[in-house]
Each structure stands twice: as structure tokens, then as C-alpha cells.
Amino acid sequence: MLCQKCKMKQANVFFKQTINGKTTQLCLCEDCAAESGIGFDFGFGLGKSFMPGLFGSVFEALSDGISSDFLGSQSTFTEKRCPMCGASFVDITHSGKVGCAKCYETFAPELSGTLQGIHGNVKHIGRRPKRIA
């Protein structure tokens, strides 16, 4: 299904919120989820905690009566995990380290600001392996 916010990309980040018995669900693409501040800031072990106020306001802005049984069997919290090592972005922010090489691709939108903060807006210009897979 399409992301509720941009309505262009496929949604692959799903959230469910239940307050006072009322359940609302949110389906976003990775970029909109990251832009909306849904998730953690990468802080090398000093990561900011989840910001429920912001999360709530995103819900208010986007929620338009989507049925709570919309996702059918998707009734539990689903967060993105690296398909290679299983790390979540929470794991990465908690430890300050990524789980594997694939994490850099899996969490590219979430990591981009942090990598830019560490290294600036540059790319690699040094040595390369003799054999590139």
C-alpha cells in the first residue's frame, strides 16, 4: 500500500497506537517516517529517546479514520530490521554501531544526517579492495 503521507512510495513502516481504547494505525514509507521524527536520532550511545509528542502529532495530522482492523493480521508493532543481521535502528542508536555492512543500505535515510554530521558531505576517494564483490 502507498505511504499515507507522500502517497507516492510504498509504505513499509507500520505503527499502531492505542489510547483509551481507541486504536489508530499509521503506514509510512521510510523517508516520511524519518522526516516525521518517528524513530531515533543516531547519537553514538547517547541517542535521543523516542518522542511520543511528535509521534502523536503525526498521527493527528495523518489519521483520517483508517479502520483499526485495516492491517488484518498486522496487529503487532512492526519496526524495520536489517535483513542481514536483524538489527533495528533502536539497536544501532543504543550501541552507537551498526550491525553489519547491509545496515548502511537498510538504514540509509535514518543514518544520512548522522553520517553527514560526522564526516561532512563527502564521499570516499581512497583505496579500494583488489576484488569487489
Binding site: G86, K97, T114, H119, G120, K123, R127, R131, A133
Partner: protein, 335 residues
């Protein structure tokens, strides 16, 4: 002959140079997510790719060492303290003659290090590249066109290289110029730390200066930048030593010779006290005050009288007093 007991360029100010590459095998999680079996697989694959079966490289299984044996490798700067504290399978591939010490399953799968005496960054770099090329020709290394070498910690992305120089700066320390130096280095993307603590006579006036930037710069430029700065620091340190000798030759000679006396005759000596006397005697050699002790002989003490290395020599655990006695005895017999 190792970095601490061999002659090297600019020996009076530069003790050693080190190049370290961080590399990871593609297809495995990074170290903190390895199971013990996967760690063993990484060790087998990486050590085979690095050595090509060449018997001049020893592969040391760190899970089989006693605590004192493991600690002695920290004391001679072959491995990090974190490496010996890990509970994962891990190994060291080494060749002391070439200054090669490659940690397998430290923070990254492969921490390839080459240490050389004196200011020898280029030589260390060339040896590190030789090993790195052999490794990456035989094994798939985690790498990306934009991010370079992919590392466990994002701060090492890009070249994955840490180039460092261990410097001996007694004159700059005694003239209170270290703070200003550290601040200038930081503006140049370099970092400086006291070797054993914050930098004082108790640390032997020794400091490690390294690059911080790893992405968006070539390895060659990193080394050139570091070398250029180190050469300026060498010039400044020598100038200050000459001024000190010109202003107060008797006072400096007295301080140096008291330290020579302590090393030659003390009955007991703690590590802290040793480092202080080591520093003044080393200064004395560079100023021509001490003529019968070489940098190499003095340098050998830097490793040989460290606690774990003394324990290994004794063949049994030593209490603090026994260590201080053993240290003083070894120094008297060497100096």
C-alpha cells in the same frame, strides 16, 4: 627487533609510527553480532587470506592465553585492552620483525596494524597496503563506492585508517605548550592524547598524535598531513630543548643524572616512578648528557618492566612489592 628497542628516524622526538586499517569480511555481521562459531569462521578466513599460508606470520589464539600472556601483548602495543577483555574467539596474526600485528575480531573483523620505530609512516603504510592488498585479493571485503570501507563504527568509514605517531615531548610539556598544541591539532583534524593518561612526567612525556578524518581524504594525503605537522612539532621540541640547556644546563643535568642514578641503583621502583626516570634519561640522551645508554636499550625497558611482562619473566604471579623489586632488578641489570 621491535618498535621499542630498535633505532628509527628522528628517534630523539619520535618513538614510533603506526598505521592501522579497519576491515570487515563481507557476508558476516560485524563483531558485536557474531556468534562464537561465526567469529571462528572469520578468523579462519581472514588469517588464511592475510598470510597466504606464509609461515613467517604466527597466528595466536587469544582464547588459549593466560591473563598475563594476553596482557603482555597490550604492554608491547600489539593489541588493545578491549581485545583482551572480549569473550569472543579472537586471534592475532603477527610478525615482530616486520612490525605486523593484525587483530582478528576486535571492534572490526580485521584491525591490520604495522608499527615501526621512529618517524616511519610511509614505510609502515607500504607494508600495511601490501597486507591489505593480499587480504582483499583473497577475501570479499565490505566496501561501498560512496562510504568506502564499511566499519562497525561509522566514525571509521572511508579509509578505515588511523595513522599515529608516538612522540616524546618533555620540553614542550615542561614549558606548558601541550594544551595549545592539542588545540591547534584539533583545528587540523588531528587528535592528541597522553599515552598512559593526560600527559605528564608520570606518563614519560609521551603523546600519541593521530588523524581523525577518514572519509573524503586519501590515505596518502592523510599521512602527508600528519607527517608535515609532526615535523613542525619536532622542530619546536628541539628548539625548546636547546633553550632549556642554554638557560639552565646545571639544573637539567642534575635532574637527568639523578634519574640515571635511580635507574642504576634503586632497590624498588613503581611503574609511575620508572616512567618519570625513563623520560628524564631519554631527554638526557638527546641532549648529550647521557652518553653510555642508547635509545634502544632504554626503550626496551618501556615494555620489559611492565607488570604482565615482568610476571611472565618470573614464571608466577607477582604481588605489587615483588613487582617493584623485580622491576628495579631488571633495570639495574639492563642499564
Amino acid at each position: 627487533m621491535a618498535w621499542y628497542n630498535s633505532p628509527g628516524p628522528e628517534n630523539d622526538v619520535v618513538i614510533s609510527s603506526r598505521i592501522r586499517f579497519a576491515r570487515n569480511l563481507a557476508g558476516y555481521p560485524f563483531t558485536s553480532r557474531l556468534t562464537p562459531q561465526k567469529a571462528r569462521d572469520v578468523i579462519v578466513e581472514a588469517s588464511a587470506a592475510l598470510t597466504g599460508g606464509d609461515k613467517k606470520y604466527k597466528v595466536i589464539d587469544f582464547t588459549q592465553l593466560t591473563p598475563a600472556e594476553a596482557r603482555s601483548y597490550v604492554e608491547n602495543h600489539s593489541v588493545s585492552p578491549e581485545f583482551i577483555e572480549s569473550r569472543l574467539p579472537r586471534a592475532l596474526v603477527e610478525n615482530e620483525e616486520e612490525g605486523v600485528a593484525v587483530m582478528l575480531c576486535e571492534e572490526d573483523h580485521i584491525r591490520l596494524q604495522v608499527l615501526r620505530p621512529g618517524l616511519a609512516l610511509r614505510e609502515a603504510y607500504e607494508k600495511a597496503c601490501e597486507l591489505d592488498d593480499r587480504l582483499s585479493a583473497a577475501a570479499d571485503i565490505a566496501w561501498d563506492e560512496n562510504l568506502g570501507y564499511l566499519t562497525h563504527c561509522p566514525t571509521n568509514l572511508g579509509t578505515g585508517m588511523r595513522a599515529s605517531v608516538m612522540m616524546f615531548l618533555p620540553a614542550m610539556t615542561l614549558n606548558k605548550q601541550i594544551g595549545a598544541l592539542a588545540s591547534s591539532l584539533s583545528k587540523l583534524g588531528l587528535t592528541m592524547r597522553g599515552l598512559y593518561g593526560e600527559g605528564s612526567e608520570a606518563d614519560g612525556f609521551m603523546y600519541q598524535i593521530s588523524n581523525q578524518v577518514t572519509l573524503g581524504i586519501t590515505e596518502e594525503n592523510t599521512i602527508k598531513k600528519l607527517s608535515d605537522v609532526v615535523l613542525q612539532i619536532i622542530a619546536r621540541e628541539r628548539q625548546l630543548r636547546a633553550s632549556m640547556m642554554s638557560d639552565a644546563p646545571d639544573r637539567i643535568t642534575d635532574t637527568v643524572m639523578r634519574s640515571v642514578g635511580a635507574l642504576r641503583y634503586a632497590h624498588m621502583m613503581s611503574s609511575d616512578e620508572f616512567l618519570k626516570h625513563f623520560a628524564y634519561v631519554r631527554l638526557g640522551i638527546s641532549l648529550g648528557i647521557v652518553k653510555d645508554i642508547s635509545y634502544e636499550k632504554l626503550g626496551s625497558l618501556l615494555v620489559e618492566v611492565m607488570p604482565a611482562t615482568l610476571t611472565l619473566k618470573a614464571g608466577h604471579e607477582l604481588g605489587p612489592t615483588e613487582r617493584d623489586l623485580a622491576r628495579a632488578k631488571y633495570i639495574r641489570e639492563t642499564i
